[in-house]
Amino acid sequence: MTADDVILQVKGLTAEYGAAPVLQEVDLTVRAGTIAAVLGANGAGKTTLLRTLSGLVKPSGGEIVYSGQPLLGVPVEQLVRRGMAHVPEGRGVVAELTVDENLRLGGLWRRDRGDAAKALTEVYELFEPLAQRRRSAGHQLSGGERQMLALGRALVARPKLLLLDEPSLGLAPRVIAQIMALLRQLRDTTGLTVLLVEQNVRSALSVADEAVVMSLGRIVTATSADRLRDDEELRHAYLGF
């Protein structure tokens, strides 16, 4: 693996909520154009890891290097301009805004208005149900449509790295399969890198290239997704099934 292959490098990342440590000396390397799954039980620190990467949680130690540049201290608002998009847990759709307003919001920071409009059109082509509900408010959408909207809004920014938190939460298996297939398609066609936090291990491993398992704020193993999926002993040891 060369330095050019790596889009995200995390070293010794530590964070606390009050006195309680939630991330402890986390090391993580994500290659460009891959899907890396972050797995683990509730409270393992997966969501906090994403929130720390995007600046919502201030770390107490460690370093984050994204596209060769240090990321600590960069304001949250600036990260999307550097090509990093974060779809938070619970999808983060602004319930009071319409579908169209939510999507436009994703590209408002862009100076290239023409390309922002083109990206919006592409998102509508990718998610046809959204095109049919442009004027519906966010709170009127189904769970699957909300997930599409959150993903679509992130894609309007044309990110290089997508931080995706629990996209399968509360969705039917058929919708989860569609979302995972979409992530694979985006990786293959646009070279998008995805850091995917999931509790649905089987779905995540069905699409991921790499996998890390977290427990109590630490990364306990980092390996290929194939290996974790196929090696029953390893899976049993770290994921308990």
Binding site: E77, P88, E96
Partner: protein, 292 residues
């Protein structure tokens, strides 16, 4: 019947100003989830700035513009220098700071300008124009309607047709998500305070000449009525503020006209109590969206 028609038009005129002031409260509530109890004092401070300019230049309109600009600046300063540093975990701390701000502003205005009522002029005649024998609206009332309507349309266009308005709405509803999408939430909050403060200043400019005159406490009772209007409409809802303002204005006018002006403060409080008991979220509250 003539009396009823007169009171109705009088109530709508008062209600228009209350709607503007209620709108200022709604703007800040939507942006920062704060009931700005200092809104009245801030508006009076802006009106005093306008008074100074009018006195110095002799031009009502220069004073009018100075008051609106002063309102914008006061909003920026209050948000940046005071409210931004308040602990938002407890709503009580925001209320206490706002009330403290009221005391400071009113004391400073009293020291600078004195505690006497100062004359506040109007740009148009306040003599009511009659249709038949029924006095309806004065030219000044028409000016009030026009000014409030202009603000309402302007704000509606800002919020629904511009990218700044979209950013402001998103920042108010989902600040964290908005930050992740590249929105400068702090800047939008400051802009929200500035706009609200300017709208409050406009309301003060419109209502003060119809009362006893300019005084550090000139907006105290207006604040109570406008707060009631905002609660009646739903603190989250700009259209609700307008409907609430007009409703309160009409009630004040009818009560004052038929029962006497001494009863009007009580009528406002009864209305406020009734709404809080029957529909605490207000008539136009958006609870569905909030719960989703």
């Amino acid at each position: 019947m003539d009396r009823f028609v007169f009171l109705t038009f009088d109530g709508l005129s008062k209600g228009a100003v209350l709607a503007a002031f209620a709108l200022a409260l709604v703007l800040i509530w939507r942006a920062a989830r704060i009931v700005n109890f200092a809104q009245g004092a801030m508006a009076v401070a802006a009106a005093y700035a306008g008074y100074s300019v009018t006195t110095a230049t002799g031009s009502y309109w220069l004073g009018f513009a100075a008051a609106l600009l002063g309102g914008l600046l006061i909003g920026v300063v209050v948000e940046r220098a005071v409210m931004r540093f308040v602990d938002h975990a407890s709503p009580l701390s925001e209320v206490i700071v706002a009330l403290g701000l009221v005391l400071v502003l009113q004391a400073v205005l009293g020291m600078v300008y004195g505690n006497e009522f100062l004359p506040a002029g109007t740009p148009f005649s306040r003599t009511a124009l009659s249709v038949g024998d029924v006095p309806l609206l004065s030219r000044y009332d028409l000016f009030v309607f026009g000014a409030v309507l202009l603000v309402l349309v302007g704000l509606a266009l800002l919020f629904t047709r511009t990218s700044v308005g979209l950013r402001m709405r998103a920042s108010a509803f989902a600040p964290e998500v908005s930050r992740l999408l590249g929105v400068n939430v702090g800047g939008m909050l400051t802009l929200g305070w500035a706009l609200a403060s300017a709208v409050g200043a406009l309301a003060a400019l419109l209502v003060i000449p119809t009362e006893l005159g300019l005084h550090p406490h000139a907006m105290d009772l207006v604040f109570v009525s406008a707060f009631t209007a905002a609660v009646v409409g739903g603190l989250d809802s700009p259209p609700g503020a307008v409907v609430g303002g007009l409703t309160v204005g009409l009630i004040l006018s009818y009560v004052s006209g038929y029962l006497g002006s001494d009863v009007t403060p009580m009528a406002v409080l009864v209305l406020l109590l009734a709404v809080l008991l029957v529909r605490p979220g207000g008539l136009f509250s958006s609870t569905v969206a909030r719960q989703a």
